[in-house]
Symmetry: C2
Subunit: 205 residues, 2 copies
DNA sequence: CATGCTATGGACCGTTCGGTCCAGAGGTGC
DNA sequence: GCACCTCTGGACCGAACGGTCCATAGCATG
């Protein structure tokens, strides 16, 4: 394990070793998105990350729950970053959602629909026994929605309308991902862009 | 593989013992919708149904997988029946979807969002290790979509448009259920009716 | 009554689960 | 050198998992 490289790209204000912890998170992200939370065992994550058990519980004393929560946070941050970048580039909200959907579609097609982006697969499994995971999921959805709402508002939609459009975007994306995965067909994802565009179009006379 | 002829065995075709098999199915339906597939153990189902283990594997030799598949078939049939009834009564597609959403909203509010209708919670967990469950989920979505498509077509929408509207209805319902559950707020569900209505409104001249 | 079949009641099984514990490697400051 | 700390490696654990097995209860038949 080369310890020379230092990645400061992530948060963790303290000294942050890039190696094991990062690999654990990467493996967790990938596996949770592939199979959901309950279907993945810590042994699977450990194997994928080539890490021993002790390391996991050293870096994540909260165990699987905490690992899942942080992983969801990372996934959410990926999406958040994408939205932010596109918004900064001046893209309209409907376009951003369309690009997000197209990205999801491509990635799912590439792996034969054995994996799905976003967190729908995890969202429906967070319960009282996994408080941190549940909180992370709530935060992720709230974050996306708030961000999109700002974008929509920025392009002139009235408050309630912007909020509704943001909510619709998130729910449609998650629903489309589920449907696409089950049907092994990206069509639902590709139907989103015109839908959002229509919803956010200026009022009809 | 296509059709996925899941034997839903509608309503006790033989001598009807209202007993063990029915209780098992009811418990399975409820628990899977509450917590998803992997999070529920057969012991939980057994306890909720007050049935011994032997009975489960007598009635469902395929084990948990088969039980889940049949349970999903029942859930799907419930919804199918509702759509059929409303359609027969002459309701428009958009209205039916709105009523479905409102029904979901009410039920989720009643149990403080600890339970969700439909099968989103199960859909994202069906994998290669649960072939029957996966097939049942596919069949459920396909069934709803086909049924709604027929309703939309019946009220004058062109083929592609009717198909799109049906797909949108299903994906939006599932997405809204997930979002509503996570946020503990039925607002996403209540935003659906106008959305579908707008989408299926007659083309502007 | 004897037979045969379905359904039930649990004891029991091997596996896998998430989690704990501790010995020690490797670095850093005194 | 020594003490101290973070991090790694993996043996180990009790509990829970899904599933098998069989004795037998109930109830139709011959």
């Amino acid at each position: 394990m080369g310890g020379a490289a230092i990645e400061t790209s992530t948060e963790t204000p303290e000294i942050s070793p890039p190696s094991t912890r990062t690999r654990l998170l990467g493996a967790a992200k990938d596996l949770f998105q592939s199979s959901g939370f309950h279907a993945v065992g810590v042994a699977d994550i450990l194997a994928a990350a080539a890490a021993p058990k002790g390391s996991l519980y050293h870096h994540f004393p909260g165990g699987k729950d905490e690992l899942g929560a942080v992983a969801v946070g990372r996934i959410a941050a990926d999406v958040t970053g994408f939205i932010e970048a596109r918004a900064a580039a001046g893209a309209k909200g409907a376009v951003i959602v369309g690009q997000l959907a197209e990205m999801c579609a491509r990635r799912m097609e590439n792996v034969d629909f054995r994996w799905s982006p976003l967190i729908a697969a995890v969202a429906s499994q967070a319960g009282a026994d996994t408080p941190r995971l549940a909180a992370a999921v709530v935060a992720a959805y709230a974050g996306w929605q708030a961000q999109l709402e700002k974008v929509f508002a920025g392009e002139g939609l009235a408050g309630a309308k912007a909020s509704g459009a943001a909510q619709l975007s998130v729910l449609a994306l998650e629903g489309a991902v589920i449907l696409a995965r089950v049907q092994r067909n990206a069509a639902p994802l590709r139907s989103l862009a015109p839908l959002i565009a229509g919803f956010t179009a200026p009022e009809r006379p």
